[in-house]
């Protein structure tokens, strides 16, 4: 498998091996020591799309609150929205 097809993973035993992209965020067994190794690789593209949509929604809600209710309403909306997004990031 070429690096373009997947990811390179380093096992604590010293072995470096390739895994397919489908294993990103998952677990694979090292071909040398047969122990489970965690594979990085971040989140699914859908996750980033939803986070982006969440940030956009908070900004739009803040703008609407600011236009309708002034600075205090905008600040409260922004804090609540950012808090929800922050909580989701911590839980993930």
């Amino acid at each position: 498998m070429s690096a373009a097809d997947g990811d390179e993973v380093a096992c604590p035993c010293g072995q470096v091996f390739d895994v397919p992209r489908s294993l990103r965020g998952g677990i694979a067994n090292c071909p040398q020591c047969r122990q489970a190794v965690k594979i990085g690789g971040g989140h699914d593209p859908l996750f980033y799309a939803l986070v982006g949509a969440g940030v956009l929604a908070v900004l739009i809600a803040t703008a609407i609150a600011g236009w309708a209710g002034g600075f205090t309403a905008a600040a409260i909306t922004f804090v609540v929205g950012a808090g929800i997004l922050g909580l989701m990031a911590v839980l993930s």
Partner: protein, 192 residues
């Protein structure tokens, strides 16, 4: 492999009133509780731990989702005592809209068997009429039935009977079979 995984019949029972998380008891054919599982609430990335008992001191299985949000979610199943991944299961997102379909993967991530909900008609009735109709699933490879998961009718307590056929042991790791059963109770139980 530990003796608790050598039975051919199990019962997975989802405990009632287990807020905020979900608790599962796994019994063998003799009715003895052999495993206990706790699924934490408010976790975006599914991480289910299976313990030897309710003291939760000895981990027996770890079931982890690869992604937080994934249309075709895959779950790796690890035996912490051997520190080795024993297999994985992957939900086929598109097919599962109408009829639950999962793939069983070996420890090398290659598909080796398919789990399907009993019938399309019953699956559609469950989705569009009532989710009180108990679910049942079977696992097949090359036309041979390997495992059956049959839910009891009980609107309050989820009980899933797991029967491993003799051929099933030759193809599938029983730890993956039990892990898939817990996932069915956890993930598929939410639809309806």
């Amino acid at each position: 492999m530990e003796a608790i995984f050598k039975d051919n019949q199990y019962l997975i029972r989802r405990k009632m009133f287990s807020f905020p998380g979900r608790k599962y008891q796994i019994f063998n054919a003799q009715g003895q509780q052999v495993l206990y599982s706790y699924q934490k609430a408010f976790k975006l990335k599914e991480d289910i731990r299976v313990y030897a008992d309710e003291a939760m001191t000895q981990e027996r299985l770890v079931i982890q989702a690869r992604q937080i949000i994934d249309f075709s979610a895959a779950y790796d199943i690890v035996d912490p005592t051997e520190k080795r991944k024993v297999g994985a299961v992957r939900r086929k997102g598109l097919k599962s809209i109408l009829q639950d379909t999962w793939e069983f993967l070996n420890d090398d991530d290659q598909p080796i068997a398919t789990l399907t909900e009993d019938s399309t008609t019953m699956a559609l009735l469950r989705r569009f009429l009532t989710n009180l109709i108990p679910q049942s699933y079977h696992v097949e490879a090359n036309g041979t039935r390997l495992v059956e998961y049959v839910q009891n009718f009980n609107p309050f307590v989820l009980k899933l009977n797991v029967e491993i056929k003799p051929e099933g042991r030759n193809v599938l790791d029983p730890r993956v079979i039990l892990g898939a059963g817990i996932l069915l109770a956890a993930v598929e139980g939410r639809q309806g």
